[in-house]
C-alpha cells in the first residue's frame, strides 16, 4: 500500500487519566504494524508532529468538563470521518461525573484555595451528549484486544464485534466459579458489560462495574441479591456511583438507594 492510501488516525484527549490512549501504546507487539497500516496524523501524547485534518478515524478519550472542550469536540467531529469514543470517561462521563451529583463550586473550593481561577462546568458529560459517535469502546480502562478488533474491523470496512452481554459469560468462559455463589462476594458482573475478560472474579473479588451497564441490565434484581449478601444502602449507592456513575441504568439504581 502506498503511504498516501493509509487511513489517517487522530487521538484526542479530554478530561481523563491517559490510560485509554496508553492502551494503544501498550500494543507492544502490534504497534509498528499498526503504524504501517495507519498514518498516525495526530497523537500528541506520542508524537510532536501534529498534522491538520481531516482524519479518517478519530479516537476520543475523556469527558467534557469545560466550555472550551465542549467547543473543541464539535470541531473534531467536523474533521473526522469516523469518531470512536474510548473508555468510561468518553462514553459515560467517568469518575469525574461524580460532580454531577454534588455542587461543583463546593468541590472546587475543597481542592483549590482560589476557586475563581478554575474554569469548569457543573457536569462531566460523555462525548455522545455533544456529537454523533460511530462506535463506543467501554471500560476503565478499555481492553486492548477490543481496541485492536475495532481498528482492524474499520480498516477492512466491517462492523467490529463488541459484546453487549454481561461479565458473567466471560467468567463461565474463563472457568471462574461464581464469586457471589461460591464466596458470597457481592459482584456487579451480572449487570456489567463484558469486555475485560472477567478479571476481578478471577482475583477473588466481585466485579466493580468499570465497563458500565450491559444492554438491558436488571440492576434492581441484582441489588436485591446484594442486600441478601449483607450490602447496605450506602454500599449499593457507592458501587453504582463510581466509574460509570452517569450511565443511565447505574445512575437510576444509585438514585434508588439514595434515601
Amino acid at each position: 500500500m502506498s503511504p498516501k492510501a493509509r487511513p489517517r488516525l487522530a487521538v484526542w484527549k479530554f478530561a481523563s487519566c491517559d490510560g485509554c490512549q496508553l492502551s494503544l501504546l501498550d500494543c507492544e507487539d502490534e504497534l509498528l504494524a499498526l503504524a504501517d497500516a495507519l498514518e498516525i496524523a495526530y497523537f500528541p501524547e506520542a508524537s510532536s508532529a501534529m498534522d491538520p485534518g481531516p482524519y479518517d478515524l478519530s479516537l476520543v478519550e475523556g469527558s467534557i468538563t469545560t466550555r472550551h472542550d465542549a467547543a473543541r469536540i464539535l470541531e473534531i467531529r467536523r474533521q473526522s470521518k469516523q469518531l470512536v469514543t474510548l473508555g468510561a470517561c468518553a462514553t459515560a462521563g467517568g469518575i469525574q461525573a461524580l460532580r454531577n451529583f454534588a455542587a461543583v463550586a463546593d468541590l472546587v473550593a475543597a481542592v483549590y484555595a482560589s476557586p475563581q481561577y478554575i474554569e469548569t462546568l457543573a457536569t462531566s458529560t460523555p462525548i455522545a451528549a455533544h456529537v454523533a459517535v460511530d462506535y463506543e469502546l467501554h471500560g476503565c480502562p478499555i481492553d486492548k484486544a477490543q481496541l485492536l478488533e475495532l481498528i482492524g474491523a474499520l480498516l477492512v470496512g466491517r462492523k467490529p464485534a463488541l459484546p453487549g452481554y454481561s461479565v458473567c459469560l466471560e467468567c463461565k468462559r474463563r472457568g471462574t466459579a461464581c464469586v457471589m455463589i461460591a464466596k458470597s462476594a457481592p459482584c456487579l458482573g451480572p449487570v456489567t458489560r463484558a469486555g475485560c475478560g472477567a478479571i476481578c472474579p478471577a482475583f477473588n473479588r466481585g466485579c466493580y462495574g468499570c465497563f458500565g451497564p450491559m444492554e438491558t441490565a436488571n440492576t434492581a434484581a441484582l441489588s436485591r441479591q446484594w442486600r441478601r449478601l449483607g450490602a447496605t444502602e450506602l454500599e449499593l449507592r457507592r458501587v453504582y456511583r463510581t466509574f460509570n456513575a452517569a450511565a443511565e441504568p447505574f445512575q437510576r439504581e444509585a438514585d434508588a438507594h439514595d434515601g
Binding site: 484527549k13 479530554f14 478530561a15 481523563s16 487519566c17 491517559d18 490510560g19 485509554c20 490512549q21 496508553l22 492502551s23 501504546l25 501498550d26 507492544e28 507487539d29 504497534l31 509498528l32 503504524a35 498516525i40 500528541p44 501524547e45 506520542a46 508524537s47 510532536s48 508532529a49 501534529m50 468538563t65 469545560t66 472542550d69 467517568g94 469518575i95 469525574q96 461524580l98 460532580r99 454534588a102 461543583v104 468541590l107 472546587v108 475543597a110 481542592v111 483549590y112 484555595a113 482560589s114 481561577y117 478554575i118 469548569t120 476503565c140 480502562p141 478479571i199 476481578c200 478471577a202 482475583f203 477473588n204 473479588r205 466493580y208 468499570c210 454500599e235 457507592r238 463510581t242 466509574f243
Partner: protein, 429 residues
Amino acid sequence: MTVKRLRVDLIARVEGEGALDLDIEDGRVRAARLNIFEPPRLFEALLRGRGYTEAPDITARICGICPIAYQMSSVHAIENAIGVRVEGPLRALRRLIYCGEWIESHALHVVMLHAPDFLGYPNVIEMARDHRSAVEAGLLLKKAGNEILRALGGREIHPVNVRVGGFYRAPTRSELMSLTGCIERARDSALQILRWASGFSFPDYERDYELVALRHPHEYPLNEGRICSSRGLDIDAASFDSEFEERQVEHSTALHAVLKRRGSYLVGPLARYGLNFERLPPEVQSLAREVGLAAVCRNPYQSILVRMLETVYACGEALRLIDGYDPPEAACVAAPPRAAVGQACTEAPRGICHHRYEIDAGGTILGARIIPPTSQNQLCIEEDLREIASRHLSLSDDALRDRCEQAIRNYDPCISCSAHFLKLTVRRA
C-alpha cells in the same frame, strides 16, 4: 521596551495536556510559565464520603501511566491511619508490582517519548525506521513491565488486585516463576537501551537542585522510607506539612508544591539516584560508571540514563523478589477502620507521591489530599526553562520552542496526574 511572547500550545510526548508561555523582554527571559490546562477532575473532593477501601481503585484513575503509585500511596496512607502493617511476602509482592510499573513507565518515557528528542525524530515510529533494534528492545521491556502488572494485578492499566491490607489474591509461586524468562530478557533489553542512550549528545547543563526522595535503611526506595533531601531534610511522611506546602498559581490547574523555607525542589529519578546511589547493587553502580554517570547527576538531560539504570535495577529486583517468594497464608491482613488521620509517601516513577486521608470510625473518608510528583517538579521545570531559554535566545522561535519542549520532557511530566493541574507561548521583545 519590546516584549515578545513565544507559546507552545500543546506540549507533545507528555502525558496529559499542558502549554508553555515564555516572555522575553529586551533580550532577557522575564517569565517562563508552565500552564497546565488539564481540566480539573477534583479527585480529592470526590473522595470525601467514599469508603476507605475504595481509595486504591478510585485514586488509580488519576493516572493511567502510574496507577500503582496511587494505589500504593493510598493503601500505605490508610494503613498508617488504621495502624496496620503489611509485612513478609505481601510486602514483597507490593514491591514487585511497583517494579513492574517502574519498568513499564520508564520504558515508555525513555524509548517512546524522550529518545526521539536526542536523535531528532518527531516520534518513536519515525525513529524506528533508523533505530529498529533499540525500539524493539524498548517495546519488549515495556511489555515485560506490563506482564508483571498483569500477573499480579490482573491488567496493566488500573490493576484490580491491590487492597488495603494486602491483595485480593496472592499469586502462586509457579505463576511468578513463569515471568522470570521474560524479565531476564527485559533486563538485557534495558542494558542495550542504556548503552545506546549513553551515546547520545547531552547538553552541558547542570543546576544545583535540592534533591528530594525517600531513603530506606537497606533498600533502593519504592514503598517505604523517610523523606530526605540533599540539603539535610530528613522527616517521616507524617511530617510532610511541616516542611512542604502547596501554592495555587493563576496560570495552572495544578497546584505547585514547595519547600516552605527554600522553595523549589526536584523529585524523580535524578533525586532518587543521587540520594540512594549506595543502595544500588554493586553491579548497577558499576554500570552507572560505565555509562559515565557520577554518584550524583544534576544534568536533567541525563535523566534518560538514570531512568534506564533504574529500569535495569527494577528488573534485577523483580527477579530477586520472585526468587525469594514464599506465598503468604492469607492474601491480606485484617484492616478494620478507626477514626484517624494517615499519611504516606511512595516513589512513583516520576518521584514521591504523598497521600493524606482522614477517615471516621466507620471507614468513611472525611478528607483527602494527594500531592503527585509533577506538581512538585513544576517550579523546577519553570526555573530550568528560564535558564535554558536564556542560553538560547539567539535561536529562531521554532528552534527555541523545541529546546523548551525538550527541557520539559526531561521531567517526564505527567500532567494528568496533577490531580489538581501545559501550552508554549514566547513573548519576545
